[in-house]
Amino acid sequence: MSVDLAALSNNPDLTLSPGDDQDTLVLSMGPQHPSTHGVLRVMLRLDGEMVLTAEPEIGFLHTGIEKQAENLFWQQAITVVDRADYLAPLSNSLCYVLAAEHLLGIDAQIPARARVLRVMFAELTRIASHLVWLGTHCLDLGAQSIFFYAFEMRERILSIMEFVTGARMHQSWFRIGGLGIDVPKGFLERMDDFIDRFPERLADMRAIVEKNVIIVDRLVGVGKISQQEAIDWGLTGPPLRATGIAYDVRRAHPYCDYESYDFDVPTQTAGDSYARFVVRLDEMYQAWRIIKQARDRFPDGPVVIDDRKIVPPPKTEIQHSMEALIHHFKLVSSGFNVPEGHIYQAVEGPRGEMGMYVTSAGGNKPWRVRWRPASFYHTQALKRLGPGNLIADLVAIIGSMDPVFGDVDR
């Protein structure tokens, strides 16, 4: 019995030309495959183990986050926004919060302490996310132990997050107007401990993997992309910087005073999987440098703006002041209105340019929250990077693009 593959697939790239159905194998890699990092499905046409065409299919993790955000008050939407890129929740909420603050026109009033803490935690998130990438990417390549070393380090970061915000992953800590709560007592000691330990641990992990003969052999020259193609495919973040273009949103369009921090934008020129590998390893060190500077500044003062129309008054005040109670009630029951307008806000997430196009129709809910997830563009580039490689290389390429499907599918 011959199966008409062309009829089964709505995908023009997978249709077989007449006569070659004897020689090629159509293989559905994913959505449940150990190395597709969640729920990516790549439809492959194979000749032996050689990939002839690779067609990424997405949408398996679609949760309607954009639509949900339209049905929540401005402040509440942070909770769903957090959950898109689940490895970097604070980067997501930072982007959304900055957009909302610009629309409200309060972006200049955010207290210095909140800005410093935002930078510090955005960079902690970047390190945590890159550690997950390092562990899983190496696991994809067959190296097991580094996975545990990376996750042990990430666990330290998550425990700091938990200590400060009460949540390990979806912190919802950045709020429109500042931060949810101030950091607890003992925070600086824990940060200092982390800052002291991290460079050594990072150097250890690099020593294990960076010059490993097999890893170098598996990655060098695999999934190579030129500068022009990287731009054409919309790559940002480490995959773009691995081609030699030093585009970093923190430098190009600074937010949260990033222009005042001293850090390098690591680049490589090869544009292959190994270049992306090294760029991310370098980035972890740069993120550590930023955290260290933020720790050194660490100003005193409030962490939210003093605007009762946006930020609810402290509980102690609510118990004594009628006016505060009314403010609190209004904010909880109907939120606050944001003036009509629209804005594209981008931040440099761990995966690349994490952008959000937020539109307000003047109401107490966002009219539209449209995402530009970096992972989406990196995933579509698999179509360009996959063909001509072996299955084992495809696994390495997916790992080196580091897509997160909560982010791609929203």
Partner: protein, 335 residues
């Protein structure tokens, strides 16, 4: 009392005891591997089943037995079912000729001590490929098929280099009997690892490939081929493949010990010949530890690199070793 001759009963009892020991050794090798991987990876490994996790193998076995034995709809039933049995059978076969040590009178402790022992082991190992290749093919799954193809190519290519790396040992010892090779090493007070370290190294590498261990675990590369040749297997049939893999691990470690590390040879064996068994097991244990260590350390090779490495490096090197050793043996005269 019975219709069976005495030698048959003795053989059956010996084989039964040996199989029991090997399977128990497999179970605890697996536990040991999990423990050691745990220690390598900042974890504890199994701790819940019994003291220090010692009952974990039993728990695993019970779990596997109780699982449903699934057969894919399109599978070639007979081959699908026979493949795991073939794998474990050939894995166990090698133990028939492995001398674990020797008795005070110099008799090797083994089921049989044929004068073609090493050839028998190689033959059994070669048939073992069928278990994996047929299992992958009969599953009628694309992942299994790719795993089966990989294993066929890998095992056949590495078998060549492995066979060639053994030839220098045979030439030096002047015998293909495993007990004879060990006896030759202890008679000369020279473990063959010293003169033949390159063949010993080649054997070590090809042994990893033969047993599908990291970094050569391509036929079952989890992150590439889901589970390779045993993707579709479940329950005890999956477990049987597992048993075969670990028993093969012990086998190659034992052969490596016999060929290059003097088998049961060691200090004080002249006074206490039974100590040979202890030395043998200690050496096998060290080999196994090194295999587990490699698994914890090394990433997986890529398929084409594996082939290149096997054909363009290991094979020529082992051929060169054979030629050099042959020349030396010829020059030194018949030993």
């Amino acid at each position: 009392m019975s219709h069976f001759p005495d030698w048959a009963i003795i053989l059956a009892v010996k084989s039964g005891v040996l199989i029991f020991i090997v399977v128990t050794a497999f179970a605890y090798l697996m536990l040991l591997e999990r423990k050691m991987l745990g220690w390598f990876q900042l974890r504890l490994g199994p701790t819940w089943c019994g003291p220090w996790g010692l009952m974990q193998p039993a728990a695993d076995a019970i779990k596997l037995v109780l699982k449903e034995d699934l057969t894919p709809a399109g599978a070639d039933l007979f081959i699908y079912k026979i493949a795991p049995a073939l794998a474990v059978l050939t894995a166990l076969l090698a133990y028939a000729v492995i001398p674990f040590g020797w008795l005070p009178d110099g008799t090797p402790i083994a089921i049989a001590s044929p004068n073609v022992g090493i050839l028998f082991v190689l033959a059994a190992g070669a048939v073992g490929v069928y278990g994996i290749a047929l299992g992958g093919w009969a599953s009628q799954s694309k992942w299994s098929l790719l795993g089966g193809i990989r294993s066929t190519a890998q095992l056949i290519s590495y078998e060549l280099a492995m066979g060639l790396s053994i030839i220098p040992v045979v030439m030096l010892a002047g015998t293909t009997s495993l007990a004879g090779i060990v006896a030759a090493q202890s008679a000369h007070h020279l473990w063959y690892i010293i003169p033949l370290f390159i063949p010993a190294w080649i054997y070590g590498v090809t042994a990893l490939a033969e047993t599908n261990r990291a970094p050569f675990d391509l036929p079952e590369a989890e992150t590439e081929l889901v589970a390779g040749f045993h993707t579709e297997y479940s329950s005890l049939r999956f477990g049987t493949f597992f048993v075969a893999e670990y028993i093969n691990m012990i086998t190659v470690s034992a052969i490596r010990t016999l060929l290059f590390f003097g088998g049961g040879d060691g200090p004080w064996v002249a006074q206490f010949p039974l100590l040979t068994v202890v030395w043998f097991l200690v050496k096998v244990g060290i080999m196994l530890f090194i295999m587990i260590w490699w698994r914890a350390t090394l990433p997986r090779l890529r398929y084409d690199r594996l082939m290149t490495f096997g054909w363009k490096f290991l094979l020529p090197t082992s051929v060169a070793c054979v030629i050099i050793v042959a020349g030396v043996v010829a020059a030194m005269g018949n030993r």
